[in-house]
Structures are given as C-alpha cells and as structure tokens.
Amino acid sequence: MSPTRRWSDVRGELVARRIEAVDVASHDDYPAVYYATVARAYLPPLLVVHDADDGADPAGIVWLEENVTGDPGCEPTTPGHLADLSPDEAVSLGYALLAVALPAVRRRNLDRTRARLAAPDAPRVARPTATPEEDTC
C-alpha cells in the first residue's frame, strides 16, 4: 500500500512541466552545447552550460556561471565562473537542490495557505453554504 503514490505522481507531472518551462536553448554554432539561464531575485542570473563536446571528457562538462553576458558557447569566463561539474555531479547537485528546496517551498506555501484561511474575509471550508440539493449526507 502506498497512499502517497498518486500525489507524488501528480507532483511529477507538475515537475515535468516546470522542467520544460526552464529556458533551455541549443547553441547556434555548437550543436553539442545546451545552456539555460536561471533568473534570481536580487542577484545576477545564473548560466548553466552543458558542453557535451568537451575534449577532455567524452561525457561533457557542465559549467555554472554568474552574471555572464557573453557567448555561452565560449570557454568559462572569470570571475563569473562558479564551478565545473561532471554531468553526474550536475545531476546529483540537482537532486540535492530539490531535496532541500522543495520542503522549503512546501512549507512557505503551506504558511501562505494557512494565513489565507485564517484571514477574516478568506473563503473557508467551514462556511455553511450548502443548499438542500447539495446536502447528500
């Protein structure tokens, strides 16, 4: 018995849509290069570059850079260059980020919902609005 499976499956669907929504683009001149820009509040955007044509590693390399305005297909720039990651490290870091971020997102949303439900003028489950037709109990 897995009472949470249905909820997490739906969650997976939501996550899949969000992944598609991340602005991932391929480089015009280098087909092995894909990159994504992650906007941040109050901070410069992050650029994530996956170069699958890196000569040193057939699996490629993932660059994490900050505040880069140049060509994402070029070599990592400094001082905006933050980290080199292998693809496996990048995946692990992705999971680590999700493992820490998702509970915080959930708690924040739950706090917002509770505050909304606690507001005097907020719609509430407790509102006795049933009509005789709706009362099926």
């Binding site: 969650r11 092995a32 995946v91 719609p123």
Partner: protein, 186 residues
C-alpha cells in the same frame, strides 16, 4: 486530526470524506475535477492549488499526516538510493533550528553542499532592507559558490537535470517528491 473544527457545509464535508476515504484506501480515482472543486471551495489558486495535489491536502482534509508524510520521505530516500548507481550519493541532514543540509561527494572528493538558511536578508537596492527569505547557500568544499532563494534553487535544479537529460537523450529522471520538515524539539 484537523485544526478546522468549525461546522462545514454538507457538500464540502461529503467531498472531503470521499477524498479522505480514497486516500486511505490508496485509490487512484481522485480526479482533477474533484481536486479543482475542492480547491475552489478552499479558495486556493496557483501555488496553493499545487498544495492540494501535493500531499499537503492532508493538512486541509484532516488526513493523518503522520501516515502520509513519512511515506513521502521514504520515497525520496528510495529514489536517491536508486540513483546512486549512476550519480553521486546525496546525504541529507536535518540540523537544529530548521536548517537542512544536502551534501554530494564528487569524483574529485570535493563536497558540494546545499544548506538552507531561514534568516537570510537579501539586499534590495533603493528599497531598503528586504524581508527575510528562505535562502540556500551553495558551497564547494566550504567555499561559497552561490546564494539562491528556494525558487532559484528549484529552477537551477531543473536546469541541471534538463541539460544532462538532453545531452544523454534520456527520459525524465525520477524527481523526488516533497519531503516533510521535521518538527523542531521544544
């Protein structure tokens, strides 16, 4: 049980009981229509609607969260374990004061650390101090790499996963579900 002890409408009570019964029975017939209807009754929208399909419905429908949430945590750990054969282990620690830390040991025996800090106050140029936000610090061998809000961290995680998936031409990797936040000791 729920903190909502006020009288509820018969229709809301009926829907809530139906949903609760189906969840307890591991029944997959809870439809989007029913969830949308319930969300409307609760006045939820946007991110809050996600709550409804996210397991947090337990809080809203008086479901026993003590049953639902640990199972979600177990699924996360199972999925991370399953992924270790290919990627690197992710160690999760829940520290006092609500701090959550995830560590990844890399090929080069470096440690990537993602730590949640609830007290970060971002600077808002020209607008004075901004309210505190839950922020993640990304470090490599204790050296600061980047500061992220939880939303930024989520987006970065999806970008990393998506890019690697594109390069490998693989289907979507399993995504860990939302995990519970352990209650702090008094």
């Amino acid at each position: 049980m729920s903190d909502h002890d006020e009288p509820v409408s018969a229709s809301s009570r009926s829907i809530a009981r139906t949903l609760a019964d189906r969840v307890r029975a591991a029944d997959d017939r809870v439809s989007y229509v029913e969830r949308a209807f319930l969300a409307q009754r609760l006045g939820l929208a946007g991110d809050d609607l996600e709550l409804l399909v996210d397991g947090t419905v337990a809080d809203l429908l008086a479901l026993p969260s003590s049953v639902v949430l640990p199972l979600a945590a177990r699924r996360l750990l199972d999925q991370l374990d399953a992924h270790r054969a290919r990627a690197h282990p992710v160690d999760l620690d829940y520290l006092p004061r609500g701090v959550t830390v995830a560590r990844v040991l890399t090929d080069e025996e470096e440690t990537l650390t993602v730590a949640l800090d609830h007290d970060y106050h971002p600077g808002a140029p020209g607008d004075g101090p901004a309210p505190p936000v839950a922020t993640l610090e990304l470090e490599r061998d204790d050296e600061h790499v980047a500061t992220l809000t939880v939303d930024d961290a989520e987006a970065l995680a999806y970008a990393l996963l998506r890019l690697v998936q594109l390069a490998r031409s693989e289907p979507l990797l399993p995504i860990p579900p939302v995990t519970p936040i352990p209650e702090e000791s008094p």
